[in-house]
């Protein structure tokens, strides 16, 4: 049974939208404060913590030695997974990964993978025998809204600051993982009838459609995803795509500022 509160909240958001306002006082295309820390966690070869409004997310990178697939003997592999564990919000329950958690992991994964920022051939150690498997795990610790963007940011920041632990595996010297670009995600939700950037928790309660856009360094699209119930027009999409270009560029600079530390 649906609780009644979301409906009241929905009306309030609607009322504010009519005045071009948001429930937390932000402008329609304004982002909450974002804090990024890297290299915090012992045992992770790369790690990042993103504090994005009330949202807190960690990402960690681990490496393993693998035998390459026979049809791609020089290619390593990349895997990105996200867990929406019950620690993150009262609404998440224990159990097998929910559709929400699978979608989150796959959308973040596609944004990074499809940007081509990791050259799979660069993960080869001995062709046909040994390649690196790179695994990024994202742990959502506090869901205060817009976890997609926070997870995407944590993942690429952990990756761009990761050290390949070659010495521990006895295959050469430790070195920085080569990551050639910085794909960034920007998410939009319909709240009060119009799209807004970076929805907070209250704005997500409406449950209307979300659009996730991942842009690479050259402002090419690498991943799109429409989630939740609702329809949108090509014109609406064109408008948010413009916002995404600006926002992604700013966050790309934030990631760059943490590298080489």
């Amino acid at each position: 049974m649906v609780a009644p509160v979301p409906n009241l909240l929905r009306q309030e958001i609607q009322r504010l939208a009519a005045q071009d306002k948001r429930i937390d006082g932000r402008g329609r295309w304004e982002r909450r404060s974002v804090d990024l820390e890297v290299g915090l966690l012992y045992n992770a070869e790369g790690s990042a913590k993103v504090t994005w409004g009330d949202t807190v997310v960690y990402a960690g990178v681990k490496f393993e030695l693998r035998t390459p697939w026979p049809d791609r003997p020089t290619q390593g592999s990349l895997m990105c997974g996200a867990e929406l564990r019950p620690v993150a919000h009262v609404k998440y329950e224990p159990g097998p990964p929910s559709p929400e958690s699978i979608e989150l992991g796959r959308v973040v994964d596609r944004g990074i993978r499809e940007s081509g920022c990791i050259d799979m051939d660069s993960l080869c150690i001995v062709p046909g025998e040994k390649v690196w498997g790179v695994m990024i795990d994202i742990h959502v610790m506090s869901d205060g809204g817009n976890i997609f963007d926070a997870c995407g940011l944590a993942a690429i920041a952990a990756l761009r600051t990761a050290i390949v632990p070659a010495e521990r595996f006895d295959v050469g010297e430790d070195h920085v993982l080569a990551v050639s670009s910085t794909p960034i995600m920007a998410s939009f939700t319909r709240a009060g009838g119009r799209f807004v950037y970076d929805p907070c928790e209250d704005e997500e309660l409406g449950g209307d459609e979300r659009i996730h856009i991942t842009l690479g360094d050259k402002e090419h699209l690498h991943s799109l995803q429409k989630g939740l119930k609702g329809a949108f027009t090509p014109a609406e999409f064109a408008e948010i795509l413009e916002v995404a270009r600006t926002q992604c560029a700013e966050l790309r600079d934030l990631v760059a500022s943490k590298e080489g530390n």
């Binding site: 499809e114 081509g116 799979m120 699209l221 429409k226 119930k229 329809a231 795509l241």
Partner: protein, 243 residues
Amino acid sequence: MMGGYGDVQLLKEDGTRLDGRAVDEMRPVEIKVGVLPAAQGSAWVKQGLNVAVCAVYGPMEAHPRKIQRQDRAVLDVRYNMAPFSTGERIRPGFNRRAREISKVTAEALESVVLLERYPRSKIRVEIEILAAEAGTRCAGITAASMALADAGIPMRDLVVGIASGKIQDTVVLDLDKAEDNYGQADLPAGICPNTGELVFLQMDGDLSIEEYNLAMEYNFKAAAEIHEIMVAALAAKYGGGEA
């Protein structure tokens, strides 16, 4: 999307594709409704060599009660690939890819079904892929909206699933298997032919904004063509205009 597109020639010198299609030409589409006697509504969609079959059950009482919605029906959608539908057999069971597609397909259909007509109830939509040749999620969405129509479930509009993509730096409509394997981008969409809205959208690979715009233009054009085939299929069964 693979990155190895440089090695594989997918366009011929005359600009047509390996199977002879023009860049903005889709594969042949066949549609039938009412194919599964045990279901309330059903549909069969063949697009190229893809075969998607969908059964709809309900509206029925939603249980357990905690999934009920006071003010509307819930859609319970499953997208499943038969073990023999792919080149290499896939193990039965619901994998992560199938769960994601089921979720976004459900959300696409929720955007058009008049769920508010059936409070506290559930409608089950079962999409089975019997043969897969790239583009199964789109064929599944088309099949699902046809099966819902066949079951007499009221909808604001039908949904047409269709994808465009990019091969050899060229935007093309409706990727086939080789194009999907060696292409550079895929842009599947769910289009409402009457309202012109999108209710489903995914994309992966690499597209400039201009390429995106062209790919989406192809999608809208194809959606109109497929819509005619859908209407004809319903007319074939119900002897008239669109449901």
